[in-house]
Point group: C2
Chain length 187, copies 2
């Protein structure tokens, strides 16, 4: 359902360049750019997912500055962008909070540079979002991507973004922007 889209940026569990499971750091630009993209495409909630106490504290402080502090007074557009941004300790916790708010579990959708059995095109996914009454949670991995256990548990995996080249190393911020536009942008 178009009005019930959520987005999660996962900092744990993800792979590092050696395929080890790690927790990555939250990047200030991921907070800002993705909050702004989510607000533009009317995403209902943006969950920055990290279990690390120091990261939770730092990220909460940044968000608070723009939601309630000096930043929001200085820049009203940014205050608005941050109004639906949350720090959440795990994917499970994000699912739980969405279920509490919506009365049903979200269908989990993710993206990958590979093609899977349950890969889906942007067109088909967009049609589902507009036409069924599910709640959706779009998950994006940081670092070198979501661990296999998470990929295996997703309902849908979006096709890789292809430009024209074989080069496929977009920043997660750019990938989020493109995917929101493909799924939710004006037709």
């Amino acid at each position: 359902m178009r009005e019930k889209i959520y987005l999660g940026l996962v900092h744990y569990p993800v792979y590092n360049r050696n395929q080890e499971t790690v927790a990555t750091s939250v990047t200030n630009f991921d907070i800002h750019d993705i909050s702004r993209s989510c607000k533009t495409y009317d995403v209902k909630g943006y969950h920055i997912i990290t279990p690390v106490d120091a990261q939770v504290e730092l990220t909460s402080r940044v968000i608070g500055y723009w939601k309630d502090g000096f930043g929001g007074n200085f820049n009203k557009d940014r205050e608005e962008a941050f109004s639906s941004t949350y720090v959440t300790e795990s994917i499970e916790k994000a699912v739980e909070e969405i279920e509490k708010a919506e009365g049903k579990k979200p269908v989990i959708v993710t993206t990958s540079a590979r093609v899977y059995d349950n890969s889906i095109s942007y067109e088909d996914m967009s049609e589902k979002i507009y036409n069924d009454d599910n709640v959706y949670l779009l998950l994006f991995g940081t670092g070198h991507g979501l661990v296999d256990e998470i990929m295996d548990s997703c309902t849908h995996i979006l096709d890789p973004i292809r430009g024209k080249t074989k080069y496929n190393h977009l920043s997660v911020r750019s990938a989020v922007a493109i995917i929101l536009d493909r799924l939710l942008g004006e037709k």
Copy 2:
């Protein structure tokens, strides 16, 4: 022509929040994210445009680190992303360099949050790019946007990006990603 697309990120002349003409600072994430987006969509050259000596020096040092220095050895993908990224002192200079390389002046295209007389849809612009033999330079303004003189001198101005809401404050990094995908992404 699809193979002859260039992109310029303009740090001068642009407006600040008070409609004064200023030079903005180059942001590290603008160098990285936009280089990666350009490489993904096969943009032939990415010009970071700033006339400020200290900014030219700093930006050149960042690019050099990834093109020729330690960074490129550590991360080959990033080295590739930076292979067509340049620091250029003005829009005129970028146009001159493109003309020297291509044998003809580029047609200048920009984008705005407003609609102009010469506004063009993404579909029409994409069709032109794929079907005519012009060289194109896509200009993006930082700060609060390109000054009127530049907007007035452009051949085409792309329609504003609309998500679903009235909120229209994407980061320039996100806007670049979305626009490259709309114009140059797989059909």
